[in-house]
């Protein structure tokens, strides 16, 4: 069980978070059909570092982007996404 640093709440147990998808699989709202299907159905799926979208579902409910190594589980960065927020 990993420890994930929520950009809002600090280090918390992975149990509070849910993985959503990789950043490269986000389908932008204005994507053309081919672009949208490529995002949905093809992954770099690296055996190394990737950027992933997680949500602090059972914590502050905010979304975050995590840079994580898929073999060692080293998390090199997390950053907040979403509307502008006060500190």
């Amino acid at each position: 069980m990993m420890q994930i640093t929520c950009p809002h709440c600090g280090p918390r147990a992975q149990s509070e978070f849910i993985y959503e998808r990789t950043v490269d699989s986000v389908v932008p709202l204005d994507a053309a059909p081919e672009q949208a299907m490529a995002a949905l159905f093809s992954r770099t799926n690296p055996r190394g570092v990737d950027e992933e979208i997680w949500r602090h579902t059972y914590g502050c409910r905010a979304w975050l982007v995590m840079t994580r190594h898929r073999v060692t589980n080293e998390i090199s960065a997390t950053r907040a996404v979403g509307p502008e927020a006060l500190p």
Binding site: I18, Y19, E20, F41, S42, R43, T44
Partner: protein, 418 residues
């Protein structure tokens, strides 16, 4: 190849079992093969075996980066069944199940396939209808499936909690009596020995590091043991499909996730079949050595780490104990994890790639072990003829973007099933 038999063992009893030969050779790679299969797991070895046995090809190599059977073949819960709801799936797996029933004799290697019955439990009327629907779909296509009453379930598995006020009370089940479990390692070893006997080169500690291209076409592989030419190359490395396909510039509809399983200390027989559930996500069986083999859902986040996570394990065990409370004082003695190719409809991918001469077999999610013979048979057909076998035609790589997915659970393109 020295033939295996009880007589052979008796002879061995007199000579200290000294007459047995290596089960497979340890050859040096040749400079060129007609077909190279990347990946010496059960699927790759079965493919090589059927290429030789069914298609008469001999100049074949299986390249394994570690030791054969060391990936998901040796890291699963050994369940064999074909009880899928959707037609392309149950047809493929049923073809495999028929091969399982003759596998030990076919390979002259006892893979200990034990058709003790694969049972899904139903916990509500709604579950029972879903189970009936699945069973009806199978029966209409000629595959065995039987609904079980509560009493029949209780008789088969006396240690299930049959109380009416259980959190998930057991109302009945759906059993596939021809399903069961097998000795996973033996499947890899048996196919390896069989393939080797036809002259297939099984080359261990030989990792593929790149593809040799002629224009767009693949004409060989670069490996840690040098360049090897090939007429056709088949990727067969489920769990790491994305990693290998990337060497050919391909992105796949696959995300790698960890699936863990565990086994308890051995006890005298207590679980008679393979127990699964329509509402819960755990599966329970007992190995011939007496350990209770236990599995659950994959970790639901991408990972190539062959390590499990306590929270996933705790969830699966809680579900299992709710079904079989008598497991409480047994002790979990070993855990293991496999890296699985989670495809974006839950079904495998077997067929051509956009790259000439390069084929792919992967995306098995957490259900690949039982498919081993069917996967090998159909992939061998595809590699030998360049065309899909009717059974694997629906499982093409391009089905996702075309919109022809085979989504057994209806959960859509995200493997975390949002």
């Amino acid at each position: 190849m020295s033939r295996y038999s009880a007589l052979g063992l008796l002879r061995g009893a007199l000579n200290g079992q000294k007459h047995w030969q290596p089960a497979w050779r340890d050859p040096e790679p040749k400079s060129h093969y007609d077909i190279i299969i990347i990946g010496g797991g059960g699927h790759g070895l079965a493919t090589a075996y059927y290429l030789a046995k069914v298609h008469g090809l001999r100049n074949i190599a299986v390249l394994e980066k570690g030791w054969i059977g060391g990936g998901n073949t040796g890291r699963n819960t050994t369940i064999v069944r074909s009880n899928y709801r959707l037609e392309p799936l149950h047809n493929l797996f049923e073809f495999g199940l028929k091969l399982w029933h003759g596998m030990s004799d076919e390979l002259n290697y006892n893979v200990m396939f034990s058709p003790r019955g694969a049972m899904f439990l139903g916990h509500s009327d709604a579950d029972m209808v879903k189970l009936a629907e699945r069973g009806d779909a199978m029966r209409c296509d000629g595959i065995d499936a039987d609904l079980m009453t509560r009493d029949e379930v209780a008789k088969l598995e006396p240690l299930l909690d049959m109380s009416r006020d259980a959190r998930f009370p057991i109302q009945g089940g759906l059993i596939q009596r021809r399903g069961g479990s097998a000795r996973h390692d033996a499947v890899a070893w048996g196919y390896a020995r069989g393939a080797d006997s036809f002259g297939v080169d099984i080359i261990q500690k030989c990792e593929v590091t790149g593809f040799v291209r002629d224009g767009n076409a693949v004409v060989g592989v670069e490996t840690t043991r040098g360049r090897i030419g090939a007429g056709r190359v088949g990727i067969c490395v489920a769990g790491h499909s994305g990693h290998v396909a990337a060497m050919a510039g391909l992105k796949l509809p696959v995300e790698s996730q960890t699936l863990q399983a565990m086994v308890t200390e051995g006890v005298k027989p207590m679980i008679n079949s393979v127990i699964m559930s329509q509402s819960l996500h755990c599966y329970i069986s007992q190995s011939d050595k007496g350990g209770i083999v236990f599995g659950g859902d994959p970790d639901n986040w991408p990972s190539y780490a062959q390590r499990g996570h306590p929270m996933v394990m705790e969830g699966a065990v809680a579900q299992g104990l709710a079904l079989v409370p008598a497991l409480s004082r047994l002790r979990m003695v070993r855990t293991w994890s496999g890296v699985t190719d989670m495809s974006f409809d839950g079904a495998p991918i077997i067929g051509e790639t956009p790259v000439p001469n390069l084929y792919i077999n992967g995306g098995w999610c957490y259900g690949g072990f039982k498919a081993t013979p069917a996967s090998g048979w159909t992939y061998a057909h595809t590699l030998a003829t360049g065309k899909p076998h009717p059974l694997n035609a629906p499982f093409s790589l391009d089905r996702f973007e075309r919109g022809a997915t085979i989504d057994e659970t209806g959960s859509g393109p995200m493997p975390n099933s949002r």
